[in-house]
Amino acid sequence: MNRFAELLDRLAYEPSRNNKLRLLTDYFASVPDPERGYALAAMTGALSFAHAKPSIIRTLMAERSDPVLFAMSYDYVGDLSETVALLWPAPQRDLRNAPPPTLADIVHGLQAAQKQDLPLLLASWLDELDETGRWALLKLITGALRIGVSARLAKTAVALLGGKEPNEIEEVWHGLEPPYLDLFAWVEGRAHKPSFMDPAPFRTPMLAHALDEDDFNKLDPNVFSAEWKWDGIRVQAVVGTDDEGRRVARLYSRTGEDLSAAFPDLLAMLCEAHFGDLAIDGELLILRDGQVESFATLQQRLNRKSVSQKLIAQYPAHIRAYDLLSENGEDLREQPLNERRARLASLVERLAHPRLDLSPEIAFSSWEELGCARRDPAQAGAVQDAQAIEGVMLKHRDSPYVPGRPKGLWFKWKRDPFNIDAVLMYAQRGHGKRSSFYSDYTFGVWKGTELVPVGKAYFGFTDEELKEIDRYVRSHTRNRFGPVRELDFSQQEGLVLEIAFEGLSRSPRHKSGLAMRFPRISRIRRDKPALEADRIEALEALLETGLRTAAKAPPSG
């Protein structure tokens, strides 16, 4: 456990994805079975046991420390698990009777323990672990293990161990169980690939290339179909039947994460008998009264381990289908898109379920015509859903469904980003490599004679621009609050930044009442006085119409 804890501790401080992978791969290479398998399970969310309540931990601590000293310590540290880990009066090392528990010991112990035994068991482990080990144990058992590593990254590290592709792991993943002895044996070349029949497997999705404007010269509009690119999340909805005739349904993200637990409403739909066995590729959206809600609304339903009836009613989930990968055991991925689309259309019609519909095609005869639709989706048939459209997708009508990102078949043609000119208000130091730079920016626009913050951005700039803004921040600081600097801004003074963003929605959680989607710095407007930055009315208008008004129409494309 101490070694696993050290890994978690280091991962939490490491900002770079590549370096995280190195740390993970090193861990998997140097730690034996079954310990590493349980670590993989912990990181992929595959461990299940009843979580201990923080109150158990508080009680254990109260029996061992002075309440005044505990309160002072908690106040200073600010995190219960960490405070207890540091404060725990462990016996002298040479007085301990057992070696520190392994992660495997802990997993087995938790699975076997009766509720009333938990405090005693926990106390014995805390006695035997070091500070970092105690911290990780407490995070693990309270279900608060957040380490900045996705399940996908952990699986990628396992794949790297034996030069495999991460997708190969995904293919077999749902048939595997902790501690994954067969997986490691295969990856390390000691055994064959684990085989099993998953009734509802994840299929590696087919991805699109971003379209370059010059691509149009090479592409024939007659062989492509077009659809809206929806601002939801891409999902794979899969239903199958296992050996014992039970229906198994799963909802996967684009990267193969299992989202099922957060969407029991959609799972129930998929399990309805008349659905049959199928695998649909589509967009997960929130639909209310037939209208697609913003991505910010969808986020209310994401990243949850469970979901209440109230939330389901308030944010009804919906699948807008655009591809059919398999139907009643028949793999359709080799078929041309036209065929798959036709089968999908008749399937959706036959199922006639209010939570499932077909992603419509956009009629067009030339690239110019499609360009118009992309600029103004409302006029091109999207009507009230125009806000939820990010652009258009182009798919070759004959394309088979090829896992990965094959060339020349699918393209995404994103809507041009919106732009506003905003004034830099606050700056904060970045992390890791960027910790010597002020690289996280809060910017605002005018509301009357005052600036109101409307968003935060921490990328989009070049290295040179970063240095320039950093210099500006250091020489124009008005106030400091911890790591944050407040800058000199007024009607006379301030640095204007051009901000690009993908969309806008209402948000009561933001001071301005607005939330920007994917904002980034597109350039520094040294030429522009602060007073000429945009006003809040411009954003309000954008929110109303979905279109950029007044002086700055989006560049045509």
Binding site: M72, S73, Y76, V77, E82, L86, G430, S436
Partner: protein
């Protein structure tokens, strides 16, 4: 001058207000701790006629006093910092040597904090008080080990005076650094460490762990490191980093003052791993606040367990806490029936704020 035989010269105290009598031996004045009978201040924060200095960190050892009595190493460090003329007259005292000051016997004893650091014991007709300065009980190969002194009253630092601060074995922390060097040989490892004491201790620990490559240092550490080497602390091949070197130091260990970690200076190294050697690194929020990627919990101060143990072992019935988290240790003393109070001396630990870690303290 101090050298004075008992009763040679009697001075009136030079202050009139803002004082607080702690005992017959010790008073707290705006300039810091003061022994009226001997007419000396201990680690004063303002210029005074006669000062006893525990160690060379800048919040304890300031320039501008009249006469200064300290260990040879501390005087040398002050001269390196402030120039030879940092006070009017200097007098060297050896560990254990007893000096009479107007009927008060003063002696200096190893504090285990940094090279030359001392606790100061004052003995008079009414009893005995020990002023700890900064100290630690953990082993440190670069300075003399802490000597336990029994006393009636103990004036202790409490930089890490909260029970969450328990320093692990420093060798284990250095092993973490070396593992990272093995795993990331293409990255430079920058280690923030206070220039006096901590830096040299980390160098020595690296040598003991078998690191035999050159250790690179920031220019601000050069003089003090050379002084340690001239005092027979063997640190191996130590090299100053020049601007041209920085891009070439992949896989190397570079020590610098903590403030440099997030400075322009650090940017030129190849994909640097930023480490910070400090007792504050025990708490994740503190490490994260500074953007540290590899926190190393190595401290030159007593941790909570050693602080409590030391208080008990001195046998003191009165405890005064000079700086750090005073409330917690005062509370602990009171629950054990010891008379304790915080002194809230302004001016100590200033360098900690600057270095945002344990600094001069």
């Amino acid at each position: 001058m101090f050298h004075a035989r008992l009763g040679a010269k009697r001075l009136r105290p030079t202050y009139l207000s803002g004082q607080m009598a702690l005992s017959d031996l010790l008073t707290l004045t705006p300039a810091g701790l003061y022994c009226a009978a001997a007419d000396v201040h201990i680690d004063p924060v303002r210029p005074v006629p006669r000062a006893l200095i525990t160690h060379g960190h800048s919040d304890h050892a300031r320039a501008g006093h009249g006469a200064v009595l300290a260990t040879r190493e501390t005087l040398a460090i002050m001269a390196l910092r402030y120039g030879e003329a940092f006070c009017e007259t200097q007098q060297v005292v050896a560990y254990g040597e007893r000096i009479g000051l107007n009927g008060i016997e003063a002696s200096f004893h190893p504090a285990g904090h940094v090279l030359g650091s001392a606790q100061i014991r004052l003995r008079g007709p009414s009893g005995c008080v020990v002023i700890s300065g900064d100290y630690k009980r953990a082993h440190d190969p670069t300075c003399a080990s802490f000597e336990l002194l029994r006393c009636d009253a103990f004036v202790s630092e409490a930089t890490f005076g909260l029970p969450v601060f328990r320093h692990p074995d420093a060798a284990g922390e250095v092993a973490k650094l070396l593992r990272s060097c093995t795993l990331f040989p293409e990255r430079a490892h920058l280690v923030g460490a206070y220039a006096l004491g901590k830096a040299q201790r980390v160098m020595k620990l690296l040598r003991q762990a078998g690191w035999d490559r050159p250790i690179w240092i920031h220019g601000a550490m050069e003089k003090i490191t050379a002084f340690y080497q001239s005092e027979e602390v063997d640190l191996g091949d130590i090299r100053k980093v020049s601007a041209a070197d920085r891009a070439k130091l992949a896989g190397e260990i570079i020590l610098c003052p903590p403030g440099q970690l997030s400075d322009l200076w650090s940017r030129k190294f190849p994909d640097p791993v930023t480490a910070f050697a400090s007792g504050w690194m025990r708490v994740r929020a503190r490490a994260r606040q500074r953007g540290v990627e590899l926190p190393l919990v190595i401290s030159d101060h007593v941790d909570w367990d050693d602080l409590c143990a030391t208080i008990v072992e001195t046998g003191a019935s009165e405890v005064w806490v000079t700086h750090g988290a005073e409330e917690a240790i005062v509370h602990w003393c009171q629950t054990r029936g010891l008379d304790a109070r915080p002194l809230h001396i302004l001016g100590y630990g200033d360098d900690e704020v600057e270095a945002a870690g344990e600094g001069a303290a």
